[in-house]
């Protein structure tokens, strides 16, 4: 079976490295460090799921989310947002904006994989 392809958008190269370490065994992992770079990849490649950091400079997670959803072919693309523990308001905003779930940073590997597999319908 082909590995599912995941795009992680996070301005922190360190967070991306951690995500890559957790996910690359099970998934085809691509990481980019800005919302704009993420949109560019989504316009040129097919992904099965997006992990999206909320607090990023220039184009934050919500602006990126809105741009993704504005694309007809990406309306149903599973998106999981990455957030800090103390940002419950952002989690609520994310959920009401049509994301499939959220993961508290720094991501716990088991929880992250479980949420991704659930969002992808693998569980």
């Amino acid at each position: 079976m082909m590995k599912k392809k995941i795009l992680a958008i996070d301005d922190s190269a360190i967070a991306l490295k951690q995500l890559q370490n957790i996910l690359e065994k099970k998934f085809d992992f691509v990481g980019v460090t800005s919302g704009l770079a993420g949109l560019k990849r989504l316009d040129s490649e097919e992904f099965d799921l997006v992990l999206l950091d909320i607090e990023m400079p220039v184009m934050d997670g919500f602006a990126t989310l809105t741009s993704i959803r504005q694309r007809e072919n990406l309306k149903d693309l599973p998106i999981i947002i990455l957030t800090g523990t103390r940002h419950k308001d952002k989690v609520i905003k994310g959920i009401t904006s049509g994301v499939h779930g959220y993961v508290v940073k720094p991501a716990d590997s088991e929880q992250l994989v479980l949420k991704i597999e659930t969002a992808l319908g693998l569980r």
Partner: protein, 294 residues
């Protein structure tokens, strides 16, 4: 000699003999390092090796054999770690409840509860974080069975008689080679490694990346503060906070979080008040990562 004097003298000798025997027994117990010992009453029932130790790394050594404990202590002596000893499971649990350990040695064949039960209770009752490496020690412990021990939650296993090269090999795997340097306050290698699923190479690589990024981030933060650009400051310090927490540098993460809150409130003065302290914390962490893991 009057009869009553002979009786008195015999009684006195017998009582002295009993007292001597009691004292000898007590002294033997103290030398064995178990029981209610003289040394153990000095600090929470524990014999403490505190001479020249690094306060940053604490080891719990549990074994009913004083000889085995001494061998391990001898092999660890160059590392400047603080070592607390327990002669049985209950004492081990009691120490775990009162201290935060970075490494635990757990003998598998002590009287009373077995190693697995003690391990379980260390997590459940002792408050031992599961990320803290626990090394199973025992005469029936074999290196080839390490996978079984790992499944139970041990970090490694160490057979008896204890060989120094095997112990060093284990320590290289389960804890970073700090070469006697202490970890910065608020940083835990074990906790950070857990975030990387135990992948030591990936974790170390990322620690070095943090150190490389730190200098540039530090200058950017300073610039945003000088310009009183709290929006950009908040975003960057948010990234520092997240990265620090990811890497197990929770002290720096907490300082960055406080700064993030202040930046979001636009409280420039409050940030200025604690800025240099936070930067110094970052410097110490970055320097440690660069020195130890490059």
């Amino acid at each position: 000699m009057p009869q009553f004097l002979i009786g008195f003298w015999c009684g006195f000798v017998a009582a002295s003999l009993v007292l001597c025997l009691l004292y000898a027994n007590k002294r033997r117990q103290a030398e064995e390092g178990t029981g209610n010992t003289k040394k153990s009453t000095e600090k929470d029932g524990v014999e403490c090796n505190t001479e020249g130790v690094s306060p940053g790394f604490k080891v719990l050594l549990t074994d009913d054999s004083r000889l085995s404990r001494n061998v391990i202590k001898e092999f660890l002596s160059g590392r400047n770690w603080e070592i607390l000893e327990a002669g049985d499971g209950p004492e081990c649990l009691r120490l775990a409840q009162k201290n935060t350990f970075d490494l635990v040695f757990l003998d598998q064949n002590m009287p009373g509860p077995d190693g697995d039960e003690i391990l379980y209770r260390l997590w459940k009752e002792g408050g031992l974080d599961k990320s803290v490496p626990v090394i199973a020690v025992g005469s029936s412990v074999r290196k080839e069975n390490e996978a079984e021990f790992k499944e139970k939650g041990y970090a490694a296993c160490l057979g008896k008689p204890i060989q120094k090269n095997r112990l060093d090999e284990i320590l290289t795997c389960v804890i970073p080679d700090t070469g006697g340097l202490r970890e910065p306050d608020g940083f835990s290698y074990a906790k950070g490694l857990k975030k990387f699923d135990g992948n030591d190479a990936a974790y170390r690589e990322t620690l070095v990346l943090f150190a490389e990024l730190w200098e540039e981030r530090r200058e950017q933060l300073r610039q945003f503060l000088d310009e009183e650009n709290m929006e950009e400051y908040a975003i960057l310090i948010h990234a520092v906070k997240g990265d620090a927490r990811t890497l197990g540098a929770e002290g720096l993460g907490e300082s960055a979080y406080e700064q993030e809150l202040k930046a979001k409130q636009g409280d420039v003065q409050a940030i200025r008040n604690s800025f240099e302290r936070m930067i110094e914390e970052g410097n110490v962490n970055a320097e440690f990562f660069r020195t130890m893991f490059s």
